[in-house]
Subunit: 244 residues, 2 copies
């Protein structure tokens, strides 16, 4: 295993940070590294907004859960899919802009590839990170704080700072449950792999002092009976995304 | 700049590969590293399908463009957002599964974070990679070749192998065009940043022996007048995604 892979495999979500600030130079270096992620036909359909203002941070923290780390972490960002540059260029040059799900999807993929590469750059400097999917809990209200214009779609938050905890590594699905050969696995094989993982997951929970009869798959089974964040499509449509 | 950041910044898309095979052990190591990417509430809503069969590879290569590298690269994969494990667990345990855009979005984000981390692991071993967004050109036809079941959403392809070319690095948007402070930039500032980038981009094109009066923003302006891949939403809906 080379050093980079050791770093990649050592990731864990950090939720408690020291007060040490993250110098702007390190952030710019991480963003520049993130930007070298692949991007569909070079469209670079993303932006990242740094939020410093205390009052805004506290409002967003409240809307995300509440999640205090959003207000308290040394550096907080919002990662956005972004078609605005394309729209402004089209308007400037007199072309129409008429896109559907594909353009939104490219933005989400581009933004995520960028964010993960940026996160790895930060981890290589010894920082810890935590993505904040809870940003989408009340996204209209969060966006009222951010004030993003049409064509900019906030996706998730990102907390960054020096780790002030050393959490254990949460085990992932077996490689064979995720990497498939030639065809997608049969239902029986999927479920057998989940049994295998559930045993690992229960051991992990017990090890953390939170033993449970439910493994991973029991938790997932109970997670989806009613739509999560049902206003999301309407929110993005309101920001100019055509999801047809 | 540390060694990891040097690697991250050195990325370029590789489209020509040597014949050297990619050993399964290296692929599994890269997948395992990729799986350590963050995942929303540990849902791990993705899978990666390796396609080896020559006939399938040639069909998919044709549908993607044609793009010969899809048939000819040493290892070809299809990255999928995947809700199937969750659905099967729910069915097994007697729970409903009723989700909308949020669950699809989580799958796309999770799959992209995973893929980028896997790609970086492969690059750290000296492999080159190329994502294949062209997979979505005729996704129904591609999926007929793959035969993925309901709840599995193919997103993009991934070619991997030893580089047989050393392409120049395509310049990205200025950091200040992507990283914004507190609020999204004014239209004037966005357009001024695009002017700056267009100059860089024209110099890059000239340097590659393909000089053009169009910079990046002129290309983007002309790219979006009619919907790209307009069948995509219907395809994903047909696979069980509710995009409302």
């Amino acid at each position: 295993m080379n050093d980079t892979i050791a770093l990649l495999k050592n990731h864990r979500t950090i939720r408690r940070f020291t007060d040490e600030p993250v110098p702007d130079g390190n952030i710019r270096e991480a963003v520049a590294a993130g930007q070298m992620a692949s991007t569909s036909s070079a469209v670079q359909a993303y932006s990242i907004l740094r939020v410093r203002d205390d009052i805004k941070r506290r409002k967003i923290a409240e809307l995300c859960g509440p999640q205090d780390k959003v207000a308290e972490c040394p550096a907080f960002f919002v990662v956005c899919a972004d078609s605005r540059r394309h729209r402004l260029a089209a308007e400037r040059d007199g072309f129409d802009y008429d896109q559907r799900l594909e353009a939104f999807l490219v933005g989400v993929i581009d933004a995520s590839l960028f964010a993960e590469k940026m996160a790895i750059a930060l981890e290589s400097m010894g920082y810890g990170i935590c993505y904040i999917g809870g940003l989408r809990n009340c996204l209209s209200d969060v966006d009222a704080v951010l004030g993003t214009p049409e064509g900019v779609y906030p996706l998730f938050g990102l907390c960054v700072g020096r780790p002030d905890e050393e959490p254990s590594r949460r085990p992932r699905l077996p490689v064979d449950a995720v990497l498939m050969e030639e065809t997608y696995d049969s239902d029986d094989r999927v479920l057998a792999k989940l049994d295998e993982y559930d045993a690992t997951y229960r051991a992990y929970l017990a090890d953390r002092g939170a033993p449970s009869e439910d493994g991973w798959s029991q938790r997932m089974a109970q997670k989806y009976p009613t739509p999560s964040r049902p206003d999301l499509a309407a929110f993005y449509a309101g920001k100019g995304a055509d999801l047809r």
